[in-house]
Amino acid sequence: MKEKIFEIISAAIEELNEELEYEELENVTVDTPIFGGETGIDSLSLVSLVVEVEGNVNDAFDANVTLADEKAMSSRNSPYRNVGSFVDFIVAKLGDDA
């Protein structure tokens, strides 16, 4: 499951990066930063990425999870920090949904 989610995120980042052309977003790994720090994307790109991944995750796993909710906002460590944390967050969400 983790691999599939990673693929979905990395495909969404690559698509987003077609416009942005950020060097740090090429060759996505679990350590690729998403939001925060000196590099990474801005808030509109983040919203767009989360919505895109949400749609594709729900299609792939026949699920109905929301990836931007109050829970994501309350956590001390944001799930959107990097690709790895986003994968873990989605795995947990799908677990709750099942």
Partner: protein, 445 residues
């Protein structure tokens, strides 16, 4: 006329501006304004004119603004971004256009378009200066709002808290002008950011020792998500203010974690009235009181009405504000608890994306023009990152590749709209939208 040079010299030994590593004292700012006054003259920009100014907060734009308002000018603060500049300039009959957005300021004299608006002529006949800002109005059509500098700043005569303040809010917004003038009247220092991302702002707060952080709920949200507040020292911050869009309790709780020692204060304002002094009932509360002897409020049928001595002189497009016995209807729904108010927002189709307003009709027009689209309805959906996001329901011709069409729609929107207006979510409908739209398909987020 407000004596700007005297105002600046009153604080001559203090720091007025911090821009990157560069610090400008009030006496240096005085010289810069003097220099700009001569520069305007040498460029044949003469008093009695309407001058449109474009650019973010910078030493350059601030000194030009001050040079203009120390004389008989009306300064029009132009929005940056995807605006029809020519239409705005025509609307206010600008005589001169000064652009500071890319380094060296440029001066463009425009063809005379007949007499100025009578409110501007009245102001000039009293020997006063003023400024104009555009509000998005209720339909999305920009409305030019004229303020008298003297009237607007009368509330700052007692400003006595000289804080190091970040100019996070934009120069062309009422809240940005408010920050600028309050700080200069109080003798505080303005810190101008060149980048408004959380990391850059944290770095600036740390290096400049920012004490007042006037920001938006969305920014506070992003700051939390970025985690950048943990890797920087934000201890200098004494006051965090927020406004311009709804705040959630979750976000407010997070703000208290990020700024445990700061006073957290909600601001409320409109382009017509500026923002009065306000007090939050508690750091973690959404209840506020609008103070100030020059500002009165009342609530009728759950709608907030205000009356103020520092309000605008009027709209320059001849539309009239909704006034009853001098009370202005803000259109904002509020809850009350004794003297405390809770702002609930407006009943409208408007979508608020991180404080930026989006009107569905404007986006619909662009989507509608894409080949293959039969109908489109744009609405806001709530999103905890930016408050709301723009979504579009589309009814398209049969047999089209939806994925491809979605890309085409996004591309077309990206080309002609500001980024925050581009629909994030595009949903295809199997049925015409007309019926649904009549039943108000647009949902409140």
């Amino acid at each position: 006329m407000i004596d700007i040079p005297k105002l600046l010299l009153a604080h001559e030994h203090r720091v007025a501006l911090i821009s990157g590593p560069q610090k400008t004292s009030y006496s240096q700012l005085f010289s810069l304004v003097d220099h700009k006054t001569k520069w305007l003259k040498s460029n044949q920009v003469v008093p009695g004119g309407v001058v449109a100014l474009r650019g973010d907060f910078s030493t350059e734009s601030i000194s030009i603004f001050l040079a203009l308002v120390s004389q008989k000018f009306v300064v029009v603060l132009l929005p940056t971004g995807d605006v029809d500049l020519e239409a705005l300039l025509n609307q206010v009959k600008a005589d001169v256009f000064i652009d500071t957005s890319s380094g060296e300021p440029t001066v463009l004299h425009r063809e005379k378009m007949g007499a100025h608006h009578h409110l501007i002529e009245d102001l000039f006949s009293k020997g006063e200066s003023g400024f104009v800002i555009f509000s998005s109005g209720s339909s999305g059509k920009p409305k030019p709002i004229l303020h008298s500098l003297k009237r607007f700043t009368s509330k700052y005569m007692t400003a006595d808290k000289p804080f190091v303040t970040l100019t996070f809010l934009l120069f062309d917004h009422i809240a940005g002008v408010d920050t600028l003038l309050y700080v200069l009247f109080s003798g505080g220092a303005l810190v101008t950011p060149s980048d408004r991302k959380p990391f850059a702002i944290c770095k600036l707060v740390e290096s400049a020792g920012v004490e007042v952080l006037p920001v938006s709920p969305s920014f506070l949200n992003l700051l939390w998500l970025s985690g950048d507040y943990e890797t920087h020292s934000l201890e200098s911050v004494k006051i965090v203010t927020y406004g311009s869009e709804p705040m959630t309790q979750q976000n407010l709780d997070n703000v208290q974690v990020m700024f445990p020692n700061a006073t957290i204060k909600q601001k409320y304002g409109t382009s017509e009235f500026g923002s009065p002094a306000s007090k939050s009932r508690g750091n973690g509360e959404l209840w506020i009181r609008l103070d100030g002897d020059r500002f009165q409020t009342k609530v009728v049928d759950g709608i907030l009405f205000v009356k103020s001595e520092t309000s605008m002189l009027g709209y320059l497009d001849d539309s009239q504000p909704i006034l009853t016995d001098g009370w202005y209807n803000t259109g904002d729904r509020v809850e009350t608890d004794g003297e405390w108010l809770r702002i609930l927002g407006r009943n409208s189709d408007m979508i608020n994306v991180g404080g930026e307003k989006v009107f569905p009709s404007e986006v619909e027009a662009v989507v509608q023009a894409v080949e293959g689209v039969i109908e489109c309805s744009v609405y806001g959906e709530s999103n905890p990152i930016t408050g709301q996001m723009v979504c579009a329901a589309v009814y398209a011709q049969d047999g089209l590749d939806q994925k491809l069409l979605k890309k085409k729609i996004k591309k077309s929107c990206q080309q002609s709209l500001a980024r925050y207006k581009v629909p994030i979510k595009i949903k295809f409908s199997d049925n015409p939208l007309t019926n649904q739209r009549q039943k108000k398909i647009r949902k409140m987020g």
